[in-house]
Structure formats: structure tokens, C-alpha cells
Amino acid sequence: MSSVMETSLATDGPADVIEAAMRPFRKPSKKFRAVLVVLAIVVAAAIGAYAYQLRMGMGVAGYTDSSFWAIYIADVVAIIGVSYGGAVVSAILLLAGASWRAPLVRLAEGTALVTVLVGAAFIFPHLGRPDRLVGMVIHANVASPVFWDMIAITTYTFATLVFFLLPLVPDTATLLAEHPDELGRGRRALYRFMSRGWVGSEHQRRVLHSATVIVAIVIIPLAVSVHSVLAWAFALVSRPGWHESIWAPYFVIAALYSGVALVILVAAGFRRGYHLEAFITKRHFVRLGYIMLSLGALYFYLTFADLLPSAYVGESGPTEIVYGMLFGSVAGWFWLFLVAGTILPIVLIALPWTRNIWGIVIASVLVVIAMWIKRVIMVVETSGYDRLTNSFGDLFHFTWVSIAVTLGGMAAIALLLMLLFRTLPLLSIVDVQELADSEAGPIEASATPARGSHVRAAGVAGAVILLAAAFGAIGVTSAQPARAAVATESLPIVTVTAVEAGPLNTVTAMVTLDGLPVEGVLVNFYESTTMFAPGDNQVPLGAMSTNATGAAAITYTAAVTGPRTIKATYFPVVLGDPVVGTTEFEVTEAVSLYSPTPPRLLATAGQTLALTLFGVVAIVFIILIAQVVRVRRSCGPARRA
């Protein structure tokens, strides 16, 4: 069956492509309209639910203090994650020289664009006050991983848009030339704008190809950065289960894995809907399936590598998290993910009997759903773990609001994809034509696969900036002794003297009864303070027994300068009134025991990192904008010939 299709592609490919690309622009079928209406209703319901949540607070979505991060952040991670599928199928395979990708690239890039937009939109329901989002720009904290999430997502979205739009320039020009009447007025105007000046000259094609390759090179580390920074929003806090060094690569692989699965589903859906069997064949599904299989195996391995160290050491937090996954509160979901999300898809693709379109599509459905479940488990379980009591609070409860909003997001992806490819061609006409030409020629027989090694991670780290206060000026002046006041009564008398020697003050009390020293009584010393109820507050300095001469003395370090009253008391009768002696005293030299916290190690490194990252982001934007401008310029009047 598939071989027949491939033959037909080889013989009358070019004509076929343009015809196939025009199919979505014809009058939509009843089925198409029905699906569109259903999806629109689901999206509208989600918007209604979100409006309700905005009015009532996030409590109605099931959030509590023991599930402060839950379904929406999992949606953000899962949906932005699947957008990496577009990058892998399109950019990585482009750089790897895998020309079989041709019929899939437009679908993959469109999926990447739509999912990153929908995924980023889930940040809104995740926030308590989305109305203040502008604060992320006008008074941002560059030390925050969430800030870099925003930067990374914005940059990646822009790159995805450029990567999607650049190859459309020749395609829209082709369709304009071939079927100007069938396009309709709106599309015609749009296509004229997009392909303005494109004549397909050698120079134009060279510029476009070079620009596309550069964007493809840029988009891969950008996608790595997005999923890494998303992971660091979790890993940069000290919570068990999140604070894992493996999380950034773990998220990247998860994104690739679920992303390839979604590309398979989108390809299958549009293949069936628009009868693209001649272009997207079983061999495409099998190859994507193989990629998915290897990523699935890698994800399985990383899951094991994530859990083993926590479980082995036995520290209470991480152990409880692993126990919760294997046997505890989220065990059912975790095993469902493990079996349905990694083992079953691998088996379905590995076995030759199920390695067909249906088997691979089922495997992809399992992967997409199971990977969403995995994200929810990862977020909800740790969020519910109380690090003070070392126990789990109430885990997240799904409510109709959060389910409706999440379903609306999923529906929005399908809806936007259907609308996007009713507006723009769903096949990359130029790529498919090139592929058909090359397959018709003799090159295939002698072809050797070229593997790209352009995949590398961009080093984007959430910066840690520590602001340490520096205080501590200590006045140094000369010492000045003070005289004690003297009282005369028949009761024991306490006379106090205070002497300052640098910051060290020595206070001495003489206890006498009728002029004779009193030995062995406990004298308490106090110093007045200006703190906490000034004028009336006495700080105990300590107690000392009198010696044979009736004297008791203690030495202390003055913390602050200023006038002080020193008081010495002793109780001649238990529970009776104390005998008190006081003296006024000017403290001129003091040493506070307080010393400011020294700046944390690596504090300045964090600042340097943040500034470096700003530079990197600026360079990326410059590169991307430059590619657009280059292609546009090549279409300028001077270059048209």
C-alpha cells in the first residue's frame, strides 16, 4: 500500500503537492465544521471557567496552601514541552540532512508555534494576579528563574514564528502563481504580503536557505533553554523532589518525547482529514516512531536515575516523595504513567506486528496523556509535602474549573491548528518538490546518512543575586569614669560604681550594713536601655556574690553608646523589697556584637551570569531579526532579478 503511494509521489509529486496544499482552502466539509464548533464550545467553556476563577479566586480551581502549584503549571510545562516536537522534526532533521522530513515540517512547525502560544497562555490562570503581569517587565527580578522563564519563552516563541514564516515565502508565492483565484480574497492579500518580491531567483533561494539553516541552529539551543529554565523554576528551590540536578535535562527529554508524539498525532490527523496519504506515508510514522522509542527509553532511564539517589540515601523528604510515587498517594498515577507512558509505547513500536500507523498513533496518544500525568504528579506531590512536619498535606483536588480550563487549552491547540492550516499551506511545497526531485534521481541508492551534531544545550541558569547589608561603624572616644550616688539608712546600703575601659565596662557594687561590708550576698546588675519602652527598661547584666570586702563586680561589653543608668539590687529578705543602688553613667565607647551576614559565596557570580544572559538573549534576537531582514531584502526591488 505504502509503496504504491511512494511510487505515485515520485512520478507526479510536484503537481500533487500544490493540489494537496490547496485542499484545506476549499469549502470545508460538514465534519470539519462540526469539529470546529465542538472545539470552539470547549474553548468558550474554558474561558467562562477562567472568568469565574478570576472573580472568585484560585480556590475554586482546587488550589490550597498545600497544593500551591498544581495543574496549571503542569499544563504550562506539558504544553510548552510538546512544542519541542516541532523543533526536533523540523530543525534537527534539517540539520541532520534527513530530507524525508519534507512533508512533515510545516505541520511540525505549526504545532510548535500553536503549542508554545497556548502553553504560555496557561501562565495566566496559574498567576494569582495576571492583571499585574507587566511587573515582570517594569520591575523584574533578574535573579528569579520565573523571570528567565518569561525571557526564554518569549525568545523561543519569536524564533518559532520566524522558523515557521520563512519557508512560507516561496510557498505562498507558488500558490499565488498557480491558483490565484481559488485562494480567496483574504488569503490572496496575506500571501501577497508574505511573498512580496519573491521570484525564486538563485540569490533569493540561497539567502532563504542560509537564513533557515541559521534559524534552525538557533532554535535548538533555544528550545533546550526553555525546558531547562522551566525545570529550574522547580529545581532552584530546596523542596525535596524538585531540587534535583537532573531536572533540566529531564525536562528537555520529556519535551522531546511528548513533542514527537504530538507531531505524530497532528500528522495522523491532517493526513486523514485532508487525505495526504500520498505524502505522509507509513515510513514517516515508523521513523518518527523510532525517534519516539529512543526518547522514551531515555526518559525511562532518566526517571530511574532521578528516583534512585533519593530513595537510596533515605533522607526523609526525598524518600517520602519516592515512596509516594511508588506506593503512596500518587502511586496509581505514577505506575499508570510508567506503564502506559513509557513501557507500552516502546513495546508497540518495537514489535513488528504493531509497528504500523495505528500502533504508532496509539503509542503517541498514550505518551501525550501519560506525560501530562507525569507532570501533574511531579508538581502536585512535592507541592503537598510539608517540610516542617515531614508529611503530606491535602494533595491537589481537581475541580470542574481547572479541568475545564485545561481541556479548553487542549481544544485550543486543535482549533488553532485547524484554523492555521486553513489559512496557510499545510505542506512545505518547496521541500516536498525538492524531495520528489531527489528521489526521482539516482542519489538515493548511494546516499549515506548525514548526522548533525548541532544539538547542544544553551547554558542558561537562573541567577542567584544576594543583597547583603553592610553595617557596623563603631565610635571610638575617650573613657570617662562615673561616681556613684550614696544613700544612708539603717538598712544595708548598695553603692554602685561604673568604670569604662574602652568598650568594656566594669560595674562594682559595695554592700554595707552600718559601715561594715556584707559578704556572700547575691547582687543583680542592670543597665538601662533605650530599647522597648524607653526610660523604663532594664537589661540584666548578670549577678555576682559579694566578697569579703562586700564588693561584687562584673564586666560587660557595651553594645551602644549613650547615657545609662546602672542599677544593682539585692534582696536582704527573701520575697522582701530589694535594696537598690544606682549610678548614672555615660557610655562613650561601645562594640555591638552584631556583624552583618557576609555575602554568600557565588553571589557576584549570579549577577555576572544574569548580565551575560541578557547579552546572549540580545544576540539571539539580533540573529533572528537579521534573518528576516535578509530574506526581505533579497526580495527588494534591486535584488529581484
Binding site: G59, R387, E444, A447, I465, A533, L611
Partner: protein, 289 residues
């Protein structure tokens, strides 16, 4: 031949770095373009520097009128005195108009082998290296000159990154509409020191910072504790009070073998716990050496 990544060699060189006249011209246009865009890059970097300066300005604004050289506030909780009456919690709830499920102060309890119950009040530890401050994307958490950590509820976007980061679980979220400020016993002026709770924002212990320098009123929890377990102190003047007695802070901490909670996390908390459970409290009147 049918490898994972491809069956055919790519027809064109992936990137054309050749120096044909065509390419040279291409290269020139690229360079002109980059020159223009370079200026945009400089502007971006300048903007980045501005962003980094924001937090300093915000902190300076709060610290205006009070110097960190005069006071550095801290807390001491004398666990020997705590009997789990939770009057501190109640006083805090009342003063800040908090719903029952949102407590800025919790009193944890444990049972030992003999069945005796231990208590430990936990609230914002006023870390000097606060993880919550670092992760806030909008600089809504600030550290004042006097070492108090506050949340600007007018800036908070409710990302709850601080809740994730706080190792003391000391932050709480206004999931639903909070009680209006006029229902609070003492109407909140909605300042950083005495915030009016707003839906969709994070709240936490503010050390009743509106009462700084605590010369007439102490924090609500300190005033409420009938057993004098809660102290408010100043590290500079080395004094702490619990509303009943005054202690020399450094001596009190040393004599009581004071510890800080989760010291190993490097947060440098400004809350000291005197360990113990129901032992006779060595009051300052008995003297220290």
C-alpha cells in the same frame, strides 16, 4: 541506509560561506544589518542594568527614615516556656484579619516516647539570605535595612514562587477573597509593614513592622503569649523583650544554647529557638555569669 535520521544526502551545502561575488554581497548586507542591530543590543544591555537596580531602590524607599545601623531586629522563641496554647497564633490571626486556614504563624507539635507533647511556633524566620526574595519574578519581596523581610502586596503577581522557595513553609496565599480591611480590629493602612490582604497575593508574617521600633507596642504574638515564650530583639543594642522581662540578647542566646532552624540551608534566619520543653525557665533575675 534507512537510518533514523535520513536516507539521502542533502543536495545543497547547508550554509553558504563561499566567497562568490554573490555571497560577498550577501555578507556585506549582513554586516550593515548587524551594525544597526548592535545598537539595539546596547540598549537591551542598558535596560538589563536598570532592572538589576530596581530592588535596591525599592529597599531604599522602605528603609527611608530608619537606619540599619541603629537596629537589626530578630526573634527569639523560648521553647522551654511554650505550652502550645496557640494564643500567639490567635492574636496574629485577629490583628491581620486572616481566615482560619491562613496562618502566618503555626505551632507544630510532636509526641515523644513517653507521650509528652512538644510545641514549636514557626513563622517567617526573617532570613538574611532569603530564598523567597531571590525567586520572586517581580521584586515584590524586599528586605529592609533593618533586616525585616516584607511583601509588597501591590506588586505581587501571585506566582507563588516564594511559597515554593521558603524552607519554613511560612508563606500563605489569599486563594479566596480575604476579609475586607474595615473588618479588621485595627484597620490596615495597606503599607508593606501592615498590608491589607488582597486576593491572589501572598502573605506572611511581617513582624508587626508597623510597630517598629516597638517602643510602645510589641508584635502581637509577643504581647499575646502568657508564658513569655516569644521575644522580639535587636541585635545592635543586644536587648530582647517578651513583654514581661528584658534580657541581654547575646547572653540569653548563649545561656539557652539557642539554635536556628534549618541552619544547613544557608538562609541565615533571624529567629533563634531556645530548645527545651517545659523546663523551669532560668529567668534573668536568677542571674547569669
Amino acid at each position: 541506509m534507512t537510518s533514523l535520521f535520513g536516507i539521502g544526502r542533502h543536495q545543497e551545502a547547508p550554509v553558504d560561506f563561499g566567497l562568490s561575488p554573490e555571497a560577498e554581497e550577501l555578507d556585506q548586507s549582513r554586516r550593515n544589518l548587524l551594525r544597526g542591530l548592535g545598537l539595539a543590543g546596547v540598549a537591551t544591555a542598558a535596560g538589563a542594568l536598570g532592572l538589576i537596580a530596581y530592588r535596591d531602590e525599592a529597599q531604599a524607599a522602605v528603609a527611608a527614615g530608619a537606619s540599619g545601623q541603629e537596629h537589626q531586629w530578630c526573634r527569639v522563641v523560648d521553647l522551654r516556656a511554650c505550652k502550645g496554647e496557640r494564643k500567639c497564633v490567635a492574636a496574629c490571626q485577629t490583628r491581620h484579619g486572616l481566615p482560619p486556614e491562613q496562618t502566618w504563624m503555626r505551632t507544630l507539635s510532636w509526641h515523644d516516647e513517653a507521650g509528652e507533647e512538644f510545641f514549636m511556633p514557626v513563622m517567617c524566620q526573617m532570613c538574611q539570605d532569603p530564598p523567597c526574595l531571590n525567586v520572586c519574578p517581580v521584586s515584590a519581596t524586599i528586605k529592609t535595612d533593618q533586616g525585616v523581610i516584607l511583601v509588597d502586596q501591590d506588586q505581587c503577581i501571585g506566582s507563588r514562587a516564594c511559597m515554593a522557595a521558603c524552607p519554613y513553609e511560612a508563606r500563605y496565599f489569599n486563594w479566596n477573597a480575604p476579609a475586607p480591611t474595615n473588618k479588621m480590629p485595627e484597620q490596615s493602612p495597606n503599607t508593606l509593614q501592615f498590608p491589607a490582604n488582597q486576593i491572589g497575593t501572598v502573605g506572611k508574617c511581617v513582624l508587626c513592622a508597623d510597630r517598629i521600633p516597638y517602643s510602645s507596642d510589641l508584635p502581637a504574638c509577643v504581647e499575646a503569649c502568657p508564658r513569655g515564650a516569644h521575644f522580639i530583639g535587636d541585635l545592635i543594642t543586644d536587648v530582647a523583650v517578651n513583654g514581661q522581662s528584658t534580657v541581654r540578647l547575646s547572653t540569653f542566646l548563649r545561656e539557652g544554647n539557642a539554635v536556628r532552624f534549618k541552619e544547613e540551608l544557608g538562609t541565615n534566619p533571624r529567629c533563634y529557638y531556645i530548645p527545651g520543653n517545659g523546663q523551669p525557665v532560668g529567668g534573668p533575675l536568677e542571674g547569669v555569669r
